[in-house]
Symmetry: C2
Subunit: 340 residues, 2 copies
DNA sequence: CTGAAAGCGCTTACAG
DNA sequence: CTGAAAGCGCTTACAG
């Protein structure tokens, strides 16, 4: 690697102290306009580029934000991270993403390593998009690193803690109202494991509104994968038969995928035999036959809001604990229809 | 922020020099096993975590890799980056991703800013997943930072330069052979703009094999979005009518999406009126009606191979210029059928 | 096998 | 408004 131009080099060429160069380049006060301009010109000519590692080390600051994900095969996470990242770029920050899944399965060991890597990098803040393990939470708290939960609500142990995400209860209510309004009486809630803490509010909102509207709800438990949902749904059908329910709320996109395959393979037509609603809008929802009714949680918006909040905390050192719930909308398509 | 435990603190408590601590913790020779063990124990007790910023600064090394993407709305990129990232994690490296698209459109200014941010961070290597602009290429070369192209072939100006990606020519050949084998005679190649340099080989392989097999190929130009493809396809149909071709090769997933919508809205049935092939496997391909025949370029494998190559270059300083072409496979489904 | 010391490239009190 | 100097937390020749 060729030797790099340093601030010292610029200071020598410009004939001013390193202090002056540092202040001028950082756009801080304490330098005359004339000098500042001259310094900037010299630095440009020399092709000087600040070494942020050194700046961060000395300044005891950091411009990197760590993001913990547990993505599995859910494309949803990547859209979320993209949204956050886009905003951070505008603030001169950048995100380092670490995933806690190995081979589609949550791996506590991997999570510990990831958090440790983030500590080693002295990240300015950590974003959690799922329920972090106890020891991770403890380490982050011990190190006094700001923590923001996005999508996933903070566990009690992490409160008070800022949060940005969908109003999952409301989402469930919207779905229940829509299904009940179509005359459905017996719904299935297909849920992923409750260690994902979006599960509970997503189910509760649905159940509460359903019971208010006189619609019964049966919960079917599934692994958090399309394959798991496929198996769970076929198992349920084998057990109770297809006549026992007239609607299904699949609580995320992989589960929706599994359900649709299971129904197809059982020869059950949607929406004639059963109405189906998914959670999360996705690009193919409208092209499937039938097109699929879904809850749109406005994931890009969640990402952007989270990015803004993070930037505020990091650059202004603001203490924030607010919970920001984004209002979801129902996108009604052909997979839900009046009960025959 | 609470004061952090430093290496000096550990050295004081352990009663040995900082040199000894550094060597012991880094797992290097030059320390007796006894001392090493004692040092590690002390560091653990004190909750010491290396500051990699400082280590990198002093050691003139870096554990971060920059990834440049131009994702637009193609989910494909996020799978690629995930694949790379997963491998890098295992080597103690991490990726910082910067996107050059703003509002779905390529933004040269944003690219320059992104590359500059990567230089400021003194990244160990840069991964390009699309044709970087001239000035970015020049800056990277000037700074003598290793560059690896993934998915997208290096432009002539960047050679010699390592590459990992799909054998796009072969992909085109497989598609042409499949379609010609079904009796199709007049194919449409739906292409995204040629500044994405995967376009040319993807088209050339298709054309060459088609002409060898007596199948004509008409190229339809499209923006690199589903909406663009929809408009392009409807425009083409308005111009030449649906009788002029019997098969379509959509050269990526957003384009496939646009084509399928256009055909549906024109009332043309697949595969009865026209066979359709997409590029890139995606989770919904099998659930669409009809299910869609696609080229699977094995994107996770490309990501993994790239990750391995990158880790080798960064950690071992190997000079690499090899081009690694991954063999694609055709996944035949119901959207392609013998010509009537 | 171990120590004392220099230095990576910055920022920032402290003096003028 | 500007300078000389200390120091962020590490690694690594150089000497013993």
């Amino acid at each position: 690697m060729a030797r790099r131009i340093t601030l010292k080099d610029v200071s020598a060429r410009a004939g001013v102290s390193t202090y002056t160069v540092s202040q001028a380049l950082a756009g801080k006060a304490g330098v005359s306009d004339e000098t500042r301009e001259m310094v900037i010109r010299t630095a440009d000519e020399m092709g000087y580029v600040t070494n942020v590692l050194a700046a961060n080390l000395k300044g005891q600051t950091s411009s990197t934000v760590g993001v913990m994900t547990a993505s599995g095969r859910n494309q949803y996470y990547s859209m979320l991270v993209q949204g956050i990242d886009g905003v951070l770029q505008q603030y001169g920050l950048h995100a380092v993403t670490n995933d806690a899944m190995r081979g589609g399965v949550y791996n506590a060991e991997l999570e510990r390593e990831s958090v440790s890597a983030l500590l080693q990098q002295r990240v300015a803040l950590i974003v959690a998009t799922y329920s972090l393990g106890e020891s991770s939470l403890r380490a982050i708290r011990e190190w006094d690193i700001p923590l923001v939960f996005v999508d996933s609500l903070p566990p009690a142990a992490a409160e008070p803690c800022p949060f940005v995400g969908c109003d999952n209860r409301l989402a469930g209510e919207l779905v229940a109202e829509h299904l009940a309004g179509l005359g459905h009486r017996n719904a299935v809630f297909l849920g992923f494991p409750a260690d994902w803490n979006t599960r509970l509010p997503r189910e509760a909102g649905f159940r509460d509104a359903a019971s208010r509207l006189g619609m019964s709800v049966t919960t079917v438990e599934s692994e958090n994968t399309a394959e798991g949902a496929y198996a769970a749904m076929r198992g349920h059908l084998a057990e109770v038969g297809s006549g026992s329910f007239d609607a299904i709320y699949a609580s995320n996109t992989p589960l929706l995928h599994g359900v649709l395959r299971a129904l197809r393979d059982e020869g059950l037509s949607v929406p004639e035999s059963v109405s189906v609603v998914g959670f999360d809008e996705f690009e193919w929802a409208e092209l499937l036959s039938p097109s699929v009714t879904v809850v749109d949680q406005h994931i890009e918006q969640i990402g952007r809001e989270a990015g803004r909040l993070i930037a505020e905390i990091v650059t202004e050192g603001r203490e924030v604990t607010e919970h920001l719930a984004i209002r979801p909308d129902l996108i009604i398509r052909q997979s839900t229809a009046p009960r025959h």
